[in-house]
C-alpha cells in the first residue's frame, strides 16, 4: 500500500459516494415523525464511510474485505490487479444467493 492509496480513497468525493450507499436512516422529511439520528445522518454516514476505508486499508493480507451494515466492501489498491487502475472499493449487497455489486467506487488519484 502507498500513501497515495489512502489519499485517493479518503478523498471527500469518494467518502461522500460511499456514505450515500450506506443504509443508514434517511434525513427526516418536514413534519415527519422524529426517527433515531435524523439530522445526524450525513455526519454519521461520512464518519462511517471513513471508518470503513480505514478498516480496509488496515488489512495486510489479501483480500481486503469488510462487512458492515449488511454490505460487503472489497478493496483493491492502485495497480494491484489491473495496470493503470486507481484504488477501487466494490460495494456489494447479499441478494439471498450471492454478493452482488451495488457499486464500484474508484479512488481519486492526484492529478
Amino acid at each position: 500500500m502507498t500513501p497515495g492509496d489512502g489519499e485517493a480513497l479518503c478523498h471527500p468525493e469518494v467518502l461522500a459516494r460511499l456514505a450515500s450507499l450506506l443504509p443508514l436512516p434517511e434525513p427526516r422529511a418536514p413534519g415527519a415523525k422524529r426517527e433515531p439520528l435524523p439530522e445526524g445522518r450525513p455526519v454519521q454516514a461520512a464518519a462511517e464511510a471513513l471508518a470503513i476505508v480505514e478498516a480496509l486499508l488496515a488489512q495486510r493480507e489479501y483480500p481486503r474485505i469488510v462487512e458492515r451494515h449488511g454490505l460487503r466492501f472489497v478493496c483493491y489498491l492502485a495497480d494491484e490487479w489491473e495496470w493503470g487502475s486507481p484504488p477501487l472499493v466494490h460495494v456489494q449487497a447479499w441478494d439471498g444467493e450471492m454478493w452482488r455489486d451495488l457499486a464500484e467506487v474508484a479512488g481519486r488519484l492526484a492529478p
Binding site: 493480507e61 483480500p63 472489497v74 483493491y76 490487479w81 489491473e82 493503470g84 455489486d101
Partner: protein, 288 residues
C-alpha cells in the same frame, strides 16, 4: 533491463468476483516470475476451463486456454516441443481433479518438467455453485441440497502416493508464502504440484478465508518436519486433514525429458529436421 511486474500485467478487465482467491494466486505467480527474472516470452500458461482458467488472460505471456480437463496433456506437449519454455499448467479443482483426473495421475508419475498450479476452492464457481471433487462431505450446494454424500479427493495424498517429486500447498490469503512456493516449483526439475487453496467468496461460504486462517498450519512450524521424507509427509498430511501449507515433499532427480533417449535440448523449431535424400531412401528401404 530487469523484468518488472508491469511486464507481466495486462489491461484486461478482470472477470473474477471481488475478493476471489484467484487474484491472490495471480499476484503470487506474477511476482514469482519477476523474482525469477523470467521474460514474458519465456513463459507459457496452459489454462483449463473454469473461473481459474481465466488466469492466462490476466498475465502477459504465452497463453493456451485448453478444453476442460486437458491442461496437462497440452502442457506436456508444449514442454516437449520447447524445453526452454517455463510451462505452467493452471486450473481449478474441477478441471484438474474431476474431468482431468486421468491426466493428473499420469502426469504425477511421468514427471515432465512443468508446474501445475491448481486453484482449489472446493466448489464449481463458474457454473454457479455445484459440488466439486474436493468439496467436503456434507457440503450443501445446488447439486447437493441435502449435503454432499461423497468424500473429497485428496490431491496431496494422491500426489505423494503417486511419486510426484514436488508437492506443495499454498493459500491465496498468504501471498508471500505462495510466491516462494511457485518459485520453488518452477525451479524444480520435473513435475511440481502446487495446490493453492483459493476461496470462492460467492459460492462457498463454508471454506472461507477465515476458515483457513484458523486451521492452516505451515509445515516449517511442525517440529522436525523433513520435506524429503515421503512417508512422514504423507503421515503429516493425513494427520492434519490436508490443512498444511508449504513444500510438503521434494525429491531431486531427472525429469521425463532428461531420460528420453535421443531427445534434444533445443526446441523443435530450431532443429534441422530435413533428411538428406540418401537418408530418406535408406529409411524408405526399411519398409519395402
Amino acid at each position: 533491463m530487469p523484468v518488472k511486474l508491469a511486464d507481466f500485467r495486462t489491461t484486461e478487465k478482470s472477470w473474477w468476483c471481488p475478493g476471489c482467491g484467484d487474484f491472490g494466486v495471480l499476484s503470487a505467480l506474477q511476482k514469482a516470475l519477476v523474482d525469477l527474472q523470467k521474460e514474458p516470452h519465456e513463459v507459457a500458461i496452459v489454462a483449463g476451463i473454469g473461473c481459474s482458467g481465466k488466469i492466462g488472460n490476466y498475465i502477459n505471456c504465452y497463453n493456451i486456454h485448453t478444453t476442460h480437463g486437458r491442461t496437462l496433456p497440452v502442457a506436456t506437449g508444449l514442454k516437449l516441443a520447447n524445453r526452454r519454455l517455463t510451462v505452467i499448467a493452471a486450473g481449478g479443482d474441477g478441471d484438474g481433479y474431476a474431468i482431468g483426473m486421468g491426466h493428473f495421475m499420469h502426469a504425477l508419475r511421468r514427471n515432465v518438467d512443468i508446474t501445475y498450479l491448481v486453484m482449489d476452492n472446493h466448489v464449481y464457481g463458474l457454473t454457479k455453485g455445484q459440488v466439486s471433487p474436493t468439496s467436503d462431505a456434507g457440503f450443501v450446494t445446488k447439486s447437493t441440497p441435502s449435503g454432499n454424500v461423497e468424500h473429497p479427493v485428496r490431491p496431496l495424498e494422491l500426489a505423494l502416493a503417486s511419486g510426484c517429486g514436488f508437492v506443495a500447498q499454498g493459500f491465496s490469503g498468504w501471498v508471500p508464502q505462495l510466491i516462494e512456493l511457485i518459485k520453488a516449483g518452477v525451479q524444480h526439475r520435473g513435475f511440481a504440484l502446487i495446490n493453492a487453496i483459493s476461496p470462492c467468496v460467492t459460492y462457498n461460504l463454508v471454506n472461507t478465508y477465515d476458515f483457513y486462517r484458523e486451521r492452516l498450519k505451515k509445515v516449517e512450524d511442525l517440529p522436525g518436519y523433513d520435506p524429503t521424507d515421503r512417508a512422514k509427509a504423507l503421515q503429516a498430511v493425513i494427520e492434519h486433514d490436508g490443512l498444511l501449507t508449504g513444500v510438503l515433499y521434494r525429491r531431486e532427480g531427472p525429469s521425463y525429458e532428461d531420460q528420453l533417449p535421443g531427445f534434444r535440448a533445443e526446441p523443435i523449431v530450431e532443429q534441422d529436421l530435413h533428411l538428406a535424400p540418401e537418408e530418406f531412401e535408406k529409411l524408405l528401404a526399411e519398409f519395402r
